[in-house]
Symmetry: C2
Subunit: 207 residues, 2 copies
Amino acid sequence: MAPVKVFGPAISVVNIDFKALEHKSPEHLKRNPFGQMPAFQDGDLLLLESRAIGRYILRKYKTKANLPREGNLSEATMVDIGIEMERHQYYRVISPIVYGCLFNPVLDGVPTNQKVVDDSLEKLKKVLEVYEARLSQNTYLGGDFLSFADLSYFPFTYLFHGDTVRIAIRQVPSCEGMVGWARGEALHQEGHRWHCSPPEGISRSFN
Amino acid sequence: MAPVKVFGPAISVVNIDFKALEHKSPEHLKRNPFGQMPAFQDGDLLLLESRAIGRYILRKYKTKANLPREGNLSEATMVDIGIEMERHQYYRVISPIVYGCLFNPVLDGVPTNQKVVDDSLEKLKKVLEVYEARLSQNTYLGGDFLSFADLSYFPFTYLFHGDTVRIAIRQVPSCEGMVGWARGEALHQEGHRWHCSPPEGISRSFN
């Protein structure tokens, strides 16, 4: 356990050893009955599902940035759309690439299935064209404001900083803008900077 | 187009002919750039992603039932968790069954791949055990109140009323309670009643 400060009071982080199947242990199943990550406890409240946990933290520890924008009907809805698109469009096509290029080889020693990666890259290209169109009209996914929608892309997109995925992504001619967005140029303009790990750091994050 | 009254003012429904690929037409791509259903327009606001559309409607046309529960931090979060679980757990394992048993044969004439269905039923069993545990403690997924979480299960769960999926589901010993929940007994107690279609009605809904 390590204390971390996120918005408000310090929180304790419980590291899970995937290789030792700690995420399937009775102790972790109390936190997340599906035996998955993440889980979040605040007093008696046990939460699962990363997007729901994110909303909870943002609602409880309100910041000036007002990342969920729930007080504004149309802005909150555009944020919702950006978040839903992440799961139903972006994650759907990027996850076979990330798993195939990074997680499977690192965690399970399973070699990359290049055909799966290539097929996903083709699908990703079409998905990214829609993102390009939206990002050509607004700086951020919800509009001209940084929101929870942009943050929801972080868990997989920060891996673009690593050479393996970034090189694969750069094979897609249409998505230079997406790579720029993923690398945090837009966030950087706001004084934010995404912290990124090199590919060799990914295995460490699972230990 | 047909006018329908949902909460507030009448809305016009645009029917999409899947077999004629109308969902890939330039006209529909303006509504949903991914060429998918649904899309929703309210004035200048063009919305996509069903869960975001649902939240928008529930926020705009507030009802006494307060289905999103956004005014209450812990209740809103439990609703969020129920919604996220639908997409990331329930839909993930139920969709190969629904597509394999119903949509693929009806829409594309593709015969059911029984192995895919059987594998998904095994996965569904494990997922439903978690739902059973949660529903044994509360009447509804978000707690002891009907919420948007319960409604989010409707699009696929109402198909349980049809014999094909229901019979497949009833092969899973653990999920009798889930079938009861899916059939609307809990909702019925509140004076609500889910409208359901027989299997032969499913093809009509795509025409």
